[in-house]
Symmetry: C2
Subunit: 201 residues, 2 copies
DNA sequence: TAAAAATCTTAATGTAGTTAAAGTTTTTTG
DNA sequence: CAAAAAACTTTAACTACATTAAGATTTTTA
């Protein structure tokens, strides 16, 4: 393992240690289940119809996880980036075709793990299993919060919250993509942005 | 433990065994962390501002988990019922005040567990920990699917899906409550229902 | 670096869903 | 079982956001 790779796994470890404490040997054990994957921008990590074969920890980069409909419209679930996980967990776990497209928006570096490996790791590492449970719990809390936001807030309010919560990626995303996350048309989003500008002048 | 109580824990065990296999002694161990709670309809299991002190497995009954806003409007996350868990996991885990109201819509029977007990149980029972992780994973998948539905579907389509997915509780809920789950006004929901009736005549 | 493709901008017009208000029916409670 | 409360129904005016269309600007690719 070279210098660069070590850096990726150190980053991964730092993330794990935000949730559970682990020693050097435990981390070596965990790391052995993952491979480094580099992927250039403007490629698809996953296409609708395919089975998601890997879950991935994002070392660096930016993705868009979305669901297309018949008419070509796109609905965005999230924009996985540094220190997130990316993949379609439903397709991954059930080994069934996904309805999602996961696009790479920037050159990215991932630590990938297959279903077989993850099952093994979860069975063999109590700390990793706790880490992974905590992640799932948090993911579910975050998703529920977004459901409430969609029900309770206007597009403008949702946009304000998005800017707060995702300031790190706000400027790396086109208007069109943010609109598809908020659930409004690109035209309406543009109008909102214009209103915002006039207000501040 | 009396006959009736045994029945509740058998039901709980059946649910656990849908996800992981456990033996009699393991189940006895798990059960020892829970208490039976009976709660009458039209009471609040949790009020906004309070800390959620228990997570609960629903043996029988029906609840509404919702978030109120300043103006008195109510947004519904879900309707926990038989074989679901009910509680505000965010408030429970972080021991911070909840923004949710959880109302009992029918006389209900719960198996409750405190935060301290759950932490202990998760640390002491590998099978339970796996069960709980699987639950969280599924909760997160389900929540993400709902987000996509809210983005992609009209109120009418969302209602059709609701009827499919929740046929068991559909007729135990008022129009007003279903409307607050779908994210439409009671008036508009009523209009939709009328349209539906005329169509079938 | 030209040309093709994608994104952004602007405005007009259309629509799903809201609001308010009042009446009716059903359910709950003393 | 009467009365109060809650839920349902109906209508009309209104608003947040969608759609379409077309030109301007930026980004990508050959």
């Amino acid at each position: 393992m070279n210098k660069e790779s070590e850096k990726y796994f150190r980053k991964f470890r730092a993330h794990i240690e935000k949730h559970v404490k682990i020693g050097d040997s435990e981390m070596a054990h965990i790391s052995s289940y993952f491979s480094i994957k580099r992927i250039g921008r403007k490629t698809d990590l996953l296409e609708p119809g395919n089975i998601c074969r890997f879950e991935n920890f994002v070392v660096s980069g930016l993705f868009q996880s979305s669901v297309p409909d018949e008419s070509g419209k796109v609905y965005t679930l999230n924009f996985p980036h540094e220190n997130w996980w990316v993949g379609d967990f439903k397709s991954f776990t059930s080994r069934t075709p996904s309805i999602m497209r996961i696009e790479t928006l920037e050159d990215s570096i991932l630590l990938e793990i297959s279903k077989t490996s993850l099952d093994e790791l979860l069975a063999n590492s109590q700390p990793f299993s706790n880490y992974f449970r905590t992640l799932s719990e948090n993911a579910s809390i975050a998703a529920n919060e977004r459901i409430i936001q969609q029900l309770a807030q206007s597009a403008e309010q949702r946009y304000a919250l998005f800017c707060q919560k995702y300031s790190v990626i706000r400027d790396r995303l086109s208007q069109k993509r943010i609109a598809s996350f908020l659930g409004v048309s690109p035209e309406y989003f543009n109008q909102m942005e214009r209103r915002k500008k006039y207000e501040t002048l």
